[in-house]
Amino acid sequence: MKLRSVLVANRGEIAVRIIRAAKALGIRTVQVYSAADADMLAVKLADEAIEIGPPAPKKSYLNIEAVIAAAKRANVDAVHPGYGFLSENGDFADAVVAAGLIFIGPSGDAIRLLGDKVAARTVAEKAGVPTVPGSDGRISSLTEALAVTERTGFPVMIKAAAGGGGRGIRIANDPAELETQFPQASAEALASFGDGGLYLEKVITRARHVEVQILGDGMDVVHCYERECSLQRRRQKVWEEAPSFLVPPEVRQKLCDSAVALARSVGYRGAGTVEYLYDDETREFYFIEVNTRIQVEHPVTEMITGIDLVEEMFRIAAGASLSVVQSDIAVKGHAIECRINAEDPRRGFMPAPGRIERLDVPEGEGIRFDTMLYEGYVIPPFYDSLLGKLIVWGEDRTACLARLSQALSQLKIKGVPTTIPLHRALAADAQIAKGAFHTRFLETWLETEFAADGGRAAEVA
């Protein structure tokens, strides 16, 4: 069948990204928006826009009934959920299908299976994917938890079975801490996710976060290689690269093959990401979780493979087979993405909404800026602080870093504080140039290197 129209059930830069892909494929676009988002760029770009509720996400972008009602009213063929909001809500996927529409993503059952961290871990193990040493599924008591730590040692992470995106995680360094934190973690998980289920995982210290992009059409699955996303603050990614330059070729092959094996074992349909921890010293990798949606950092993969992942999602949803086979997909060069947030890195990353007074976007070969900004736009306070993503490509990582520094110096956003100074300092840092970092690098670096001059050295350079 042919997709003629789509409802974009998201906001911000990803809504803009989805609309651009839809337009390239000749698909009519209908954008939903909250009362606080009438002026957003996606509303201006879409063929039609429908207000779905008040500013609070749970009354608008998280309101399944309101989104479905808008889709019916607009008479669209399909719904694209973007990332965040309802994108990994199996009930929403089911509701879209029950309304006679196509959900652009996997089935509700696949979302629920892979979204449950314990079930996903079992799926990974069955598919032969290495997992972090930890409990075999859910644990119901402290006694059970203590028994697990005899195998794994400390520190351990106490994770919510229904958690994800870095939420619902606590770390216990010894049995006493486990005793205190276990009941708290259970109560917290119940309150946050409506499910008090917990599991334990050994903490892999000095690990990298590496993830594999996959595409499946329900029959075949391919990978589009991996991304390196170790630079994180409070478990939120800040800077992402592709490929993960320090993983040896034979390990990369195994890593990517394991992601494909996992996705194949569940007949995966759509774009997805399999996340791993990678230990530089032992060269071992461990499965963490699957994200059943497009990721914020998908552009770095697009830059090195030439594949438009969002367009591919539309084709798969329309029932087409994958437009590529594995042997068509090759890595060319290196790409880095910097997340530009409306936060002040010199004041504890305090977020600040406000009006964009001026916007200068760098242009040129290998430079892409995915954003929802325009001059005069007033950023509402009700949603996350992501303003845009600067993505830069180079023939190799050294060339990419040089081009990135140049592009960052040309990117001007006036009116609100942004994380541009942080990225300029990172792009000029010797440790970053060597690739000598892991998932806990950035927080320490912020307290030492960045705190020392607030990124001013990089600005003068």
């Binding site: 606080a36 008040p54 500013p55 609070a56 309150a191 409306a342 936060e343 305090m350 977020p351 600040a352 909404p353 509402p380 306070p381 009700f382 949603y383 996350d384 602080s385």
Partner: protein, 80 residues
């Protein structure tokens, strides 16, 4: 006796309690001291505590729980 207005320093979403399912920081009629928390403002997914800023009696809230507020909007009044 005069009325003192407590204003939101930030735009965002106003919360009367520290977490869902727990009692509000203050209810109408309560007395407050200057450093008492009277609510939270959620701005871009981070939470900032709002303190009364003045001591006073008989606080009266003008914004409901989970309502959007503008920077400078009066959240509550106290009698001094």
């Amino acid at each position: 006796m005069s009325k003192h207005e407590i204003r939101s320093p930030l735009p965002g979403t106003f919360y009367r309690s520290p977490a869902p399912d727990v009692p509000p920081f203050k209810t109408d009629g309560d007395a407050v001291s200057s450093s008492d928390a009277i609510g939270l403002i959620e701005v871009m997914k981070t939470f900032q505590e709002i303190q009364a800023g003045v001591a006073g009696g008989n606080i009266r809230f003008l914004v409901d729980n989970e309502e959007p507020v503008m920077a400078g909007q009066v959240i509550a009044e106290v009698e001094q």
